[in-house]
């Protein structure tokens, strides 16, 4: 995993202050507050629809909160939601890649779009530890669900982000894949920060701290 170690040049702090989200009048996440700091791993647990995925999307800057706010500070500087993509690695079941492009092409595109130098080398370095180096030239459409999940992990680690947001990271993975997730979380937790949304005991036990969402979740009117 040497190619995927997080690069953290200063303390990373993540704070949620009454963070709440509604989808078209329905509660996606009941107000939640917490403060996290590097290094470490935190698990977010809770029943289906309690807002685990929503919380990760809010922290990633992919959703705008209905109420409250999230604050991410890197080395004392606030990272605005619109900039967070540069410091996070994000894994989610809804993250899809371009079927018509190969694994390597998808990652090279991601690295180039982020303005990284040596995109080819970065893509190779990200594919190798997740076991996709031999499938680098296969189109995404030819991958199994487990391999797509490995590609999601490779994408999350591509730019060695200080903050990893992992939503059900073990989905579709075999035993070797689950061990890979454990390795990723342990290594990231040494220098950076990992937030894992899961209800799998094996995954939440990787984290030293746990945030339990108790909201009734989506499907219940506010």
């Amino acid at each position: 995993m040497s190619g995927a170690t997080a690069v953290v040049s200063g303390a990373l702090e993540v704070e949620a202050l009454g963070l709440e989200h509604f989808y078209a009048g329905r509660r996606g996440l009941a107000a939640v507050s917490f403060a996290l700091r590097t290094p470490g791993a935190v698990a977010v647990t809770g029943p289906n629809g309690s807002g685990k995925s929503t919380l990760l999307r809010l922290l990633a800057g992919l959703l705008r909160p209905t109420a409250g706010r999230s604050v991410v500070r890197l080395a004392g500087r606030t990272v605005e939601p619109a900039e967070r993509r540069t410091i996070i690695g994000f894994v989610s079941p809804e993250l899809a890649f371009y079927d018509e492009l190969s694994c390597r092409e998808n990652l090279v595109f991601a690295a180039e779009a982020r303005g990284a130098r040596g995109a080819e080398a970065l893509a190779r370095a990200a594919l190798e530890p997740v076991g996709l180096d031999t499938r680098a030239h296969d189109r995404v459409t030819a991958l199994s669900s487990g391999m797509k999940q490995r590609l999601r992990l490779a994408f999350a680690l591509l730019h060695r982000p200080p903050l990893l947001l992992l939503d059900e990271p073990g989905s579709h993975l075999d035993e070797e894949g689950k061990a890979l997730v454990e390795r990723v979380v342990r290594e990231q937790a040494r220098a950076g920060l990992v937030v894992i949304a899961t209800n799998e005991e094996r995954e939440w036990r990787l984290a030293a701290e746990r945030i339990e969402l108790r909201g009734r979740g989506l499907g219940h009117p506010a």
Binding site: E94, A96, Y98, E100, A110, A113
Partner: protein, 224 residues
Amino acid sequence: MPPSGSNSVAAVWAILRKECRSEWRTRYGLNAALLFAVATLTAVSFAAGKLPDRTDLLAALLWVVLLFAALASLAHAFVREVEGHTLTFLRLVASPAAIAFGKLLFNLLFLGVLELVTVPLFLILMGAPAPRWGPFLLVLGLGSLALAATTTLVGAVVSQARGRGALFAAVSLPLLMVVLAAGVSGLRAQWEGNPVTAEVRILSAYAATMLGASLLLYDHLWED
């Protein structure tokens, strides 16, 4: 590491190349657009023959063929991302503005390729008088820019709406009327030896307005 100006340029360039590669692999839009353009021109030329004296009809026909041939693909620039569930991936690597400008450049390139095939075929099949190339290309280029900017903007705005197909048509129809009217008038004027200054001004102002609106709107796209 906040996104810098050079990062935005890199993102736009990467998105443009990705769009080209995806289009080349899937032929999602180009084949259908070329088929429509060639079939329409062939059918009209069989039915009406050559129309060298009807510059009014020629100008309208060229824009109608270009518009309808390109529209399906232009409208789907963002819908493809939503339906393929790749929008999250895209948003994690580039800003909304970079995504939209990458798509806009691709749409312009797409129109350019379509015109490269369609215009010579049109001139031959319809027996159109030789155009005054300067004004002809100026009107065609500015019209294409206005068309691409409008459809990209509308496509981005409606991409996550339910019933986006109907919404796209309803929103873009009145916006595209200006482009069509000025484009048709400009092409007709250049064939008739008249100045195209007014049409060039309208198309320039319209394209600039759409690009300006895009700059203001794109960074607020997809804020759920």
